[in-house]
Symmetry: C2
Subunit: 164 residues, 2 copies
DNA sequence: CTTGCTGCAAAGTGTTTGCATACAT
DNA sequence: ATGTATGCAAACACTTTGCAGCAAG
């Protein structure tokens, strides 16, 4: 059985359960979003204005090293953090669909057993072949969302118009 | 038939084929690595010391927008660029295996038709469901390479030793 | 009490921008 | 000739570090 409470998990570790950490854990556990350090800082600040952005960065770094949080780069110039599915009651395993223009990210649930099976097989193969110890995988699809795609098409049309 | 020469492709476009661009194209076409802007700048500098790092960034941005180059973040704090397989005689379609500690990246070729089929099916499903126009996908496995993994294990042992 | 954790300010680092000049077409 | 592309320097934005004080265990 997986334990879904970061605070519990932390008490059992050698790290200290401080006020800033408690707040950051709550935010991560209760968010569906991909939060940046700044996002988390702002939310935390409302609860506990004494908190510093540095602490947010340091806590996230710690959580990442502990394998509790995943750090992503979706191309908008800042790292985004997300709690792992095994640590969250809310998030199941999912992949990402990312707009290269507005950087919107859609989580989509993986339902196909076929895919899970294939990923498992791939991991086994890679670990054997390259001697890696694999802990995570990322499957992401990049492109343009509906809105940005039509903007793009309009731009093309306009450019053609100017040339004529 | 795909055209494998960036310079040719560029002549047909509305952009100007300048000396810095020629050099950057050559570097990208002839490299097997995932180069950073700085890497490319250094190689280019040896051929043409008048080149500026800014130009490298701007050229890479342009190539990315044209869909000729892929920009990656492997977690070492700088973007890395790689020519697309359709633009290169050298690189076939591949995915990445990334060490979270030393940031080494292994390219592995995808041979399984099963996987290609699944990816195709997934893309079609996502485009329909979310109205996205998908242009790229990324499949990456993260973990620790053999060396870093044993370093990690040693650290754990030492820490246990200290506690006793 | 001990020492890990915190917040602040400052430094660091990759990347982008403003601008006058050079150059491809 | 004309307008795009360039290189430099400066600006930016996110992230990390040094340090003295605070507080969890």
């Amino acid at each position: 059985m997986t334990e879904f409470n970061l605070k519990e998990k932390f008490k059992r570790s050698d790290f200290r359960l401080t006020k800033p950490r408690k707040i950051i854990f709550d935010i991560l556990e209760n968010s569906e979003e991909h939060l940046s350090a700044e996002d988390i800082y702002r939310i935390a600040y409302n609860i506990y204005p004494a908190i510093g952005l540095t602490t947010v960065y340091r806590t996230l770094e710690l959580l990442e090293k502990m394998g509790i949080v995943l750090k992503h780069d979706f191309g908008d110039g800042r790292a985004r953090y997300e709690i792992r599915e095994t640590e969250s009651k809310r998030k199941g395993h999912h992949h990402h669909l990312i707009c290269k223009m507005c950087h919107k990210v859609i989580d989509y649930k993986v339902c196909m057993d076929e895919e899970k099976e294939l990923v498992k097989k791939t991991i086994e193969g890679l670990e054997k072949k390259y001697g890696f110890h694999i802990t995570d995988h990322v499957i992401e699809f990049y492109g343009y969302c509906k809105d940005c795609y039509s903007k793009l098409e309009n731009q093309k049309k306009q450019r053609r118009g100017q040339v004529i």
